[in-house]
Amino acid sequence: MSETTVTPERPITVEEREVKPGFVGTNVPRKEDARLVQGQGVFADDMRRHGMGYVHFVRSPYAHAQITGIDVSKALELEGVYGTLTGDEVAIQTDPFFELSTPPGSEIKDYALAVGKVRWMGEPVAAVVAATRELARDAAELVEVEYEPLPVLVDAEKAQDVEAPILHDDAGSNVVWSGEFDWGDFDAALAEADRVVKIDRLHFHRFSSTPLECSGCIVEYERATGQWTLFGNHQMPGVGAIWMAPALRVGIDKLRFVSHDIGGAFGNKITLHPYFVACCLLARKLRRPVQWTEWRTDQHMANTHGNERTFLDIEVPVRSDGTMLGFKVRAIDDCGAFPRYEPLGCIIWAQVTPGCYRWRHVRVDFTQVCTNKSPVAPNRGYSRMQQLWFTERLVDIVAHELELDPVEVRKRNYIRSDEMPYETPNGCVYDSGDYALCLDKALELIDYGSIEQRREEAATRGKLLGLGIGSTLDSGTNNFGQSMILNPELQFSGNNEVATVKLDLFGEIVVTLGTVPQGQGHETTASQVVADILGCTPDDVHVRPGHDSYWNSHAGFSGTYASQFAVTGIGAVKGATERLATEMRQLAAAVLGCAPDDIELAEGQARMRENPEAALPFMALGAIINANNAGLPQDLDVTLNCRYVYRPPFEKPDVERKYGNLTLTYANQVHACVIEIDGETGVYEIVDYAAVDDCGHRIHPQIVEGQVHGAMAHGLGAATHEQFPYDEDGTLLTANFYDYHVPHALDMPPLKTDYVESPSPFTNYGAKGMGEGGGAGIHAVCAAIQDALRPLGGPIVTDSCNPPNRVWELIRDPEAARAGVAVESA
């Protein structure tokens, strides 16, 4: 007979604890921090397994070449080498990865290692496994590969030329996907306009977020069951498994993905499947765990980059007062050697088709092509950042050419708060927001009123001062149905996320997330939600760090990407916790002999509302259901282990019209940037900077603000230095941090922040996903440079990356920098 049997007559009294309700919306201490500040996080390279071997990839020194022979014999002779893997083996043992595109992109054959041909410099050609890291690299040097070089394609604008080398013979074309988007009535807008601003070319450059932890994994193969365990830093294992399992010809449950801490991902760890499959094959072949760590130069040369996009033949119909009616553009997107996550970027941009503006008439001719560069993948602000940069450039170029104030043009064209929820020309619904208010706050932070005075003062020091604004959207919670607009055959739509919340034997509340966090503080924010619902403190809630697909708490779209945790992750946690709360009340009611509605959860107890003395501590509930359940009513259907799948309310889009709601929430940020340019050298300094964020109700304001800081730093880095340019031979010119300059602490300007809270009508807590920031820093810096150089002949900023050399060129030859822009009377 157990001592813990509880009856209403003998309630257990527990020590009174201070319980502060309402944790959501407050800055509770981050649960993740204690281990991370002590160096006790567990990252991909921190794991060890008995008898494991280290993998080193042999990479192509050519951007485009036939492989005419691979000889691994010398590598195998080296003592300490366990084995090798080549493209021939991969082609026999696996099927090509699933392609998302319609033809011609669907015909591309993508494997874990190069098969027959290499298509970018750094592409893995073979792999070697050895007893130590150093030996594996020694052995990789002994693998002899013979190549026959082929002509190289690096310019996406030339990819469709007749004489262009073709990367994928199976596809017969370098085009992955192309399509027309036509919303509203662009011809009518032209007729209605007073002026048409024409821009020949705008170019959004290639870069990535370069997470400080590179990719990696340990893969173990269990021969008894044919199951692989992949401990690594894949940020979207659900989708990773969709690629990997068919390629490996196994069921999806044969792939167990585990992650603990991830040192940043930003989208760059979504397409690790080729490397992971190579490791799976090696683990099976060599009958031992294998460990792969990517180094920085590997990451730059051969992991993922953000999409490079060129906007051509742009037309913007404008009224004399600065009202812009829409735009027409031909966009060419460069996805590098293989599409992988693409061509999703060919539709993702349409989540923010008109940016923050009331433009109704849009015509876009969009083509995505392959080139001999590293493949792309989502990168913080995936595909929308390019589009938002484009819309912000349109506003600033129109203002410049019509001699209007960019602030006034923005306000005239912004979607107004009283128009929310607002349906865009392609059927997306902007849920809430007050862009003009955000702009006003940003301008106030940088003391907009004094700008002209500061401009004059700077001029006395020989400096050109300029102000730039970047207004952006952070569209979160994808409707994967948008993929059907690209390829109606695809069977993807909606979205989902999973959480499991249980009350364990000793009363411990255990939360299991489907998300795969990389620093966003999910353990903390989940615990806030759980604590509020269960009437306890976040300290009472244990959120399991990381992810394990064997926890069975994930679904097809699980992961951390596309600004969605505050909606999907929190939605799942809330749903699961409410289920648990219901069960706890049912159990307590059964034990205490009352109705579930008579029970309240508070102060770590389930107690009778009318008689708080009649209470069961959580520990008692956990113990009863798990270990002391005799005598409970037979019809009491309670497990205290509740799984919930959050599913946002989406419809399938209208594929014919390419129309529908592609995202659930739209956070927005407005940045204002003041720069000073040294007119002699083109060197510039950001002297004042403000960012105002509106992501609806903030669950943890400090975490939100941290995301704003980080997104701003990424924007500034990309605007000033970070770029992945290739020379004509397909050599990456910024192969590591020697040449790829990431902002350090001295590079960062003083940063001022403020916020607005426009709750989303569509979500729990009125929260919106946020964190990507839409590249606002890039837009603001481009605009500020253009503004500063107005006195020097008005050069137009047409590229998203403007290091000092480029600014100097704008100064030296403003006419050339204006040549592609014209204003015509309509």
């Binding site: 500040v37 002590q38 996080g41 150093e134 400080l212 980080g710 730093a713 941090f737 020697y738 602490a745």
Partner: protein, 159 residues
């Protein structure tokens, strides 16, 4: 004297003395991570730029990816694992948490040691001095805003 391809080294790390035979080619950071299994010291680049591998080496902040393990014979090294004492977080560790000076936490160990090196040598750093002290540590999450604030708070005695 003969040059050797491996050597036994005695290194004091966080107050503990380790004796290990290491290859001459092994970098100190691999020695710390792989041989001593102190994986709090991280690797974020291969060119000496990122500072994730920063440790204190005889009291000086250095990047452990630009030293050989054999060089460390007789050295006194402090890594992130040595910061907390008797279960109490070091004031910098506490301040990093309080000020949300970390997100993914990958740069944090190196950042903490650079900050400690600063405060060991300068009790009243200006903001610029703080930024200069962590210039060799790349963070891709925070934009450094809260890191600078956390270090300043410790200098002010607020943590």
């Amino acid at each position: 004297m003969e040059a050797v391809s491996s050597k036994t080294v005695a290194v004091e790390v966080n107050g503990d003395l380790y004796e290990r035979e290491v290859d001459a080619r092994r970098l100190l950071v691999h020695f710390i991570r792989d041989d001593l299994e102190l994986t709090g010291t991280h690797i974020g680049c291969d060119t000496g730029n990122c500072g994730a591998c920063t440790v204190l080496y005889d009291g000086q902040a250095v990047k452990s990816c630009m030293l050989l393990a054999v060089q460390a014979d007789g050295a006194r090294i402090e890594t992130v694992e040595g910061l907390a004492q008797d279960g109490e977080l070091h004031p910098l560790q506490q301040a990093f948490s309080d000020h949300h000076a970390l997100q993914c936490g990958y740069c944090t160990p190196g950042m903490l040691l650079s900050a400690k090196h600063l405060l060991d040598n300068n009790h009243e750093p200006t903001e610029t001095e703080i930024r200069r002290a962590i210039q060799g540590n790349i963070c891709r999450c925070t934009g450094y805003v809260n890191i600078v604030e956390a270090i300043a708070a410790v200098a002010r005695g607020e943590a």
